[in-house]
């Protein structure tokens, strides 16, 4: 492709189009930040504004003075995301590697066995009953981790990658007397960091942003992940804030002082902060993960 002139006037309409679009994309985030930095009394009297009337950090101050709920939610989200991503990459890649080997006898039957679940499912109700009434996983980390663990699409994505590794690699290792498990762990894993990173990041994002599992299976606040804490705060901020200062005796006078509107938005910023900060660095991996492995072949 020829990309000669870096700037050219004929592209101006396209740039204007994209600048307009960019504004539409940035304003919502900007407004959350602006509200979180506004003075609570301003929010009550003049409402939300794109530029705070009076710059004020009392919402953040309040959260840092009472950090327990958000720290706990961070802890839950971190444990869930880390454990979930590691387990899931291990499970998916092992399966994908076996399926990528053309000499694996049960390849097509297992591929079909996995693929069928992407076409048909039993639905939410039997799944919910299995998790709660049979396995009794409600209010546990398992309930937060298990539902996102095994993604069949990622198995196919990785399988396509493994198929591109030269056959001679495995053959020569086999001749040297290496067993299948050793081949996988000592040769395949180091060679496939790009695809592992791609799937790992996509899973990490899925876990970080997950709230649905908590909505279904969690009702104890100490097991709320970040996103679910946010969701509950929207309707129930008073209660969460009361739990924030559990050891302090709650009196009516103090409750009025809580900057609810700005604190809510500040919590939102603190929850998405890490993702917004690291995502630009990993964007290329996400783009790579988009070409879903084909089922054929």
């Amino acid at each position: 492709m020829k990309r000669t002139a870096d700037y050219s006037w004929s592209k101006l309409p396209i740039h204007l189009f994209f600048i307009a679009i960019s504004v539409v994309f940035i304003v919502p985030l900007w407004s959350i930040i602006s509200i979180s930095l506004s003075k609570e009394s301003d929010l009550v009297t003049v409402g939300y504004r794109l530029i705070p009337l009076n710059l004020d950090f009392q919402a953040y101050q309040y959260i840092f003075d009472n950090p327990l709920p958000i720290l706990n939610a961070y802890k839950v989200t971190s444990i869930m995301s880390f454990a979930g991503t590691c387990l899931s990459v291990l499970m998916i890649s092992m399966c994908a590697y076996a399926l990528s080997r053309s000499d694996f006898k049960y390849r097509s039957i297992i591929t079909f066995y996995l693929f069928f679940t992407t076409l048909f499912s039993g639905g939410l109700v039997p799944y919910y009953l299995l998790m709660t009434k049979v396995l009794h996983l409600q209010n546990s980390y398992a309930a937060l981790i298990i539902p996102l663990l095994g993604s069949v699409w990622f198995v196919f994505l990785m399988r396509t990658f493994f198929q591109q590794l030269p056959d001679s690699l495995v053959e020569s290792a086999t001749l040297d007397g290496a067993g299948e498990l050793r081949i996988y762990f000592t040769m395949i894993v180091p060679l496939s960091t790009p695809v592992m990173a791609t799937v790992g990041l996509l899973q990490l994002l899925a876990y970080w942003n997950s709230w649905y599992q908590a909505l279904l299976f969690i009702d104890k606040q100490e097991l709320y992940p970040l996103q679910y804490l946010l969701q509950v705060m929207m309707s129930n901020i008073q209660e969460i804030l009361r739990n924030m200062q559990e050891n302090v005796p709650v009196d009516a006078g103090a409750a009025v002082q809580i900057p609810t509107e700005s604190t809510r938005m500040a919590m939102c910023i603190l929850a998405i902060g890490p993702m917004l900060f690291i995502f630009p660095f990993f964007q290329k991996y996400f783009a790579k993960g988009l070409t879903v492995g084909s089922v054929k072949g």
Binding site: M1, K2, K11, I14, F18, I21, S22, F25, P28, L29, S31, I32, G47, Y48, L90, M91, I92, M94, C95, Y97, A98, Y106, Y113, L114, F115, T117, L119, F120, S121, G122, G123, L124, V125, P126, Y128, L129, L130, K133, V134, P147, G150, V155, E180, Y184, N209, S210, Y212, Q227, L230, Q231, M234, S235, C268, M275, F279, P280, A287, L290, V295, K296
Partner: protein, 305 residues
């Protein structure tokens, strides 16, 4: 015969062992619920479990199909999904084609990043952003509306408005993802085609129509098949988080998945929600097979399986 099977097994046992965690996971968490879907034909009682509960034939389905909500659910689910499929296809392809026209690497990256970041946010966070605009008392939208002299709108009680808010939110969150996907496909086209077309004196529009778009067709069909296959499912977060559970909005925000969820968790109506879930799964299954068969007939290369 048996000895050959044993031999196959011995030869493949280590590779089989590698697949085992995934195979077991899928068995427990996908196939067992499929079997458990028989609960739709039972009167579920918590103390008896799925297997022990009494069979009631199709009565759960009769209730579902006689329910006055059904038409609303089907209309909303199919309607929104149809709108989403079309708008995100057109928007993503358009943006990708425009991105492809840009020559400045830096700006290209900047635009892409800005459009991509909503993809990294959960619907909970997007609901917060929507709230910043739509909050009837302090929201910014009502301030702007007041500024131009119109009367403010109680957005969380105004069902019609959500017919526009939901597709807008959906496109806002999805367009970056879709555009990058189509943009990557455009980068995969052999540049020789474009140069040959230019030498032959083709204009921009002709190049787009005769080269760029046809090269995107395989990706477009695959993504559209996938989307049509899921046309009975809704992006639960969009329909559940954004309207903030406002009961007055159900006319335009209730879809099959939110109904199943509500019937299960709020009403505790296991029979009705499982019947709705099973019907949804079956219809979706038949739909994917159907669409795939049609695509296969037209162009086998573009089919999914």
């Amino acid at each position: 015969m048996l000895s050959r099977m044993m031999k196959d097994f011995r030869k493949n046992k280590f590779l089989l062992a590698l697949t085992l965690p995934m195979v077991i996971y899928v068995f427990v968490f996908s196939y067992t619920p499929m079997f458990g879907a028989i609960v739709a034909f039972k009167r579920y009682q918590y103390n008896k479990g799925i297997l022990g509960s009494d069979w009631v034939g199709l009565s759960n389905f009769k209730f579902l199909f006689n329910s006055p909500d059904l038409w609303r659910l089907v209309r909303n689910t199919l309607g929104y999904n149809a709108v989403f499929i079309m708008t995100s296809l057109v928007a993503s392809v358009t943006v990708a084609l425009l991105l492809y026209e840009l020559t400045s690497r830096k700006l290209l990256k900047a635009y892409q990043s800005v459009m991509f970041f909503p993809h990294f946010l959960s619907w909970v966070v997007v609901a917060y952003m929507a709230y910043a605009f739509l909050n009837p008392r302090s929201g910014m939208l009502n301030h702007w509306i007041a500024d131009i002299g119109w009367s403010p709108v109680d957005w969380y009680n105004e069902a019609t408005a959500w017919m526009y808010i939901l597709p807008l939110a959906n496109i806002w969150k999805d367009i970056g993802f879709g555009a990058i996907m189509y943009y990557a496909a455009l980068l995969g086209i052999d540049p020789a085609y474009f140069e040959a077309a230019k030498i032959d004196g083709a204009n921009k529009w002709q190049i787009v129509r005769k080269i760029s778009l046809p090269s995107l067709y395989p990706l477009i069909t695959i993504l559209t098949i996938l989307a049509i296959g899921h046309i009975f499912s809704a992006d639960f977060g969009l329909f559940y988080q954004l309207p903030m559970n406002s009961p007055t909005l159900l006319a335009t925000t209730d879809v099959i998945d939110t109904y199943i969820f509500r019937a299960l968790t709020v009403l505790g109506n296991i029979g009705m929600s499982s019947a709705a879930g099973l019907t949804k799964s079956l219809l979706g299954f038949l739909l994917v097979l159907g669409v795939n068969a049609v695509v296969k007939k037209i162009n086998a290369d573009n089919s999914l399986f």
